[in-house]
Chain length 368, copies 2
């Protein structure tokens, strides 16, 4: 029986071979550059995919919330890092995890550092997050006052151990010149390493975005890379040049519920609650919420003539279809949709199905 | 102990009083217009909120997927309608529900009608969905050929019973002239009722959008209204004039993790996986992913000087803060965020917390 026979409603398909190839390729790139790959598991959020990653030498992972860290803990990871400015309200939960799991957090202000010093019950590590121009979060790279204030506070406790500097250059998602952003990021991390490595000889530097880790070859003296999206990739990454569409490891299987021949449109059950609402907009203002692939019993193929989701609402999606697709489609068929943003799609779906019909876990599919 | 003491991570708060007032007001409006209110529960997706609705005479509800209908079945509803072009792959699931629950579906093509005639095991009802200009889904109002083809097919089975015409004028969400859209919708439904009521004397007409149901007073001879969003409302509805911000019944409680004084920005734990990514864009292109309210032990207050979410990513949100907010905020505080699109936020969160600290169920919070 094909996996396709099990599908009657929107289902997130996962091609294990593509996913493993993506992990392997990034692990090899990290090795080539003498870097450690610590994947950000906000994308996969899965024990099973974590086990696949271990086959390629991955020993540590990153989470973006305490909830996700709870889910990933106890799975044999040497360390779990929460790459999000630590929320001091969650110190009790952190203490619980840290009793049995090596864990690290991210700090960007003195207040949270102080609260950790006062309330930590078990040793944890911490990175200082650096903002070298992205402007979302982090200590500004030149703000040595704040960096040293945090380090000084941490010294008061034997439970809060400095690990190094973390930089997420998220502007690689919307600024075209990734090499320039990376030059700035490399220089920032290198300067900080030089400045603080005498006092902290073991400190490491880590860089975190998928577009950069996928495109760049020169990482200078950065020690670790922490991309997340690369395990699946998606249309946004393909648009940024970080992958080919053939590298995308997930697609949403969707039932066809109506066909409008005159408008060349196909109505599917598949909308914002499945794909999330991330969108690509082309130079003419045309929106693209996902692209059609043809499913077969071994996986999917990418058609030469493109069909795409022109609009979505909560449960509805409308495909602008190619002539080829229009000629072959019927109500009751199932199509595949490559997502614009696979992290958000996986989080919305909370579960995967592999091409042999097995379910793969995702943190969001677990009951509250 | 205040509900606030329980919150350490993003939590969707639900003000029962506001929610009940919204339901009561719409029920009274329906009664004033001799209409039946059949709320669309794609917004609430909750047994508990269903029980509140029953206090105001609500006896039927609408779902937007078979999965949601499964969740709502067995809760004492006289009928559950699935207001989505029926997906013929789900006939086995429909048969299961229909064994114990009165249920109706929506049809817009002959093929699905035929498949139902062949495979139905229990009687169900159906509406024909009409497109009177929205262009998302439905039979075009003048396409009597298709309407009659569907009716003719249904006659071959004693299990597929015509209930009437359903119209969702979703263009009230992005076209300013709601009265004009409603005139067109009233006329379309009235014409169809006149044309088919001799043969189907019990047929009813239903109209489905919240902006129209909230704003309009003249529904002509339409029999039923099926808005969904009105149980909670949100910033989008407020922008459309369907509610005041004081009518919004849900807000996302979010922890403050950092403050950038120079930029007047506050970093919160609260992003796309919590709020979804719906956005309001003002005339200057400024994006608004949600607006700040101040939480207290009885609920929340809307500040006079506005602070809003200027950007969100998967878990991060950045608030552009008013001077008043900047003067009072500190790391570790909890703020409230009124959502742009409450249906999507509720679906992303999968659970509510009332102002007395009780959990309220949502279909998405149930394990797969």
């Amino acid at each position: 029986m094909s996996y396709l026979d099990q599908i009657t409603s929107p289902t997130l398909l996962l091609d294990e071979n593509i996913c493993r190839a993506n992990i392997k390729k990034m692990a090899e790139k990290a090795a080539r550059n003498n870097m450690k790959l610590v994947p950000h598991f906000k994308t996969a959020q899965s024990h099973e995919i974590g086990n696949w990653a271990k086959d390629y030498g991955i020993t540590e992972v990153t989470a973006s919330s305490i909830k996700m860290a709870e889910y990933l803990s106890g799975q044999g990871w040497e360390n779990i890092h929460i790459a999000f400015p630590f929320n001091p309200l969650e110190i009790p939960k952190l203490n619980k995890i840290a009793a049995n799991q090596s864990i690290s957090v991210q700090l960007i202000n003195a207040k949270t550092a102080k609260m950790l010093v006062d309330q930590l019950e078990h040793p944890i590590g911490f990175f200082i997050e650096i903002d070298a121009g992205y402007g979302r979060t982090g200590v500004e790279v030149s703000d040595f006052g704040l960096i040293e204030e945090i380090l000084l506070i941490a010294k008061k406790s034997d439970k809060l151990n400095f690990k190094g500097f973390y930089l997420h250059p998220g502007h690689t998602y919307y600024m075209p010149d990734i090499p320039a952003i990376y030059e700035q990021s490399r220089n920032a991390l290198s300067m900080l390493k030089n400045k603080y490595s005498t006092e902290y000889p073991k400190l490491v530097t880590r860089i975190g975005d998928t577009p950069g880790c996928a495109v760049m070859e020169d990482f200078g003296d950065i020690d670790e890379m922490g991309p997340g999206n690369f395990v699946f990739y998606d249309l946004m990454q393909a648009a940024l040049g970080g992958c080919d569409k053939e590298d995308i490891a997930v697609c949403l299987a969707v039932p066809v519920v109506d066909i409008k021949k005159d408008r060349k449109e196909i109505l599917i059950h598949g909308g914002g609650v499945h794909l999330a609402k991330d969108v690509l907009v082309d130079e003419n203002g045309v929106k693209n919420f996902g692209e059609v692939v043809y499913l077969n019993e071994h996986g999917w193929t990418i058609p030469e003539s493109r069909s795409f989701l022109k609009s979505i609402s909560q449960e509805h999606g409308i495909i602008k279809a190619s002539d080829e697709l229009m000629a072959n489609i019927k109500v009751g068929d199932i199509l595949g949709i490559l997502p614009v943003h696979s992290c958000m799609t996986a989080d919305a779906m909370g579960e995967y199905m592999t091409l042999d019909g097995k379910k793969v876990d995702h943190a969001e599919g677990i009951a509250h």
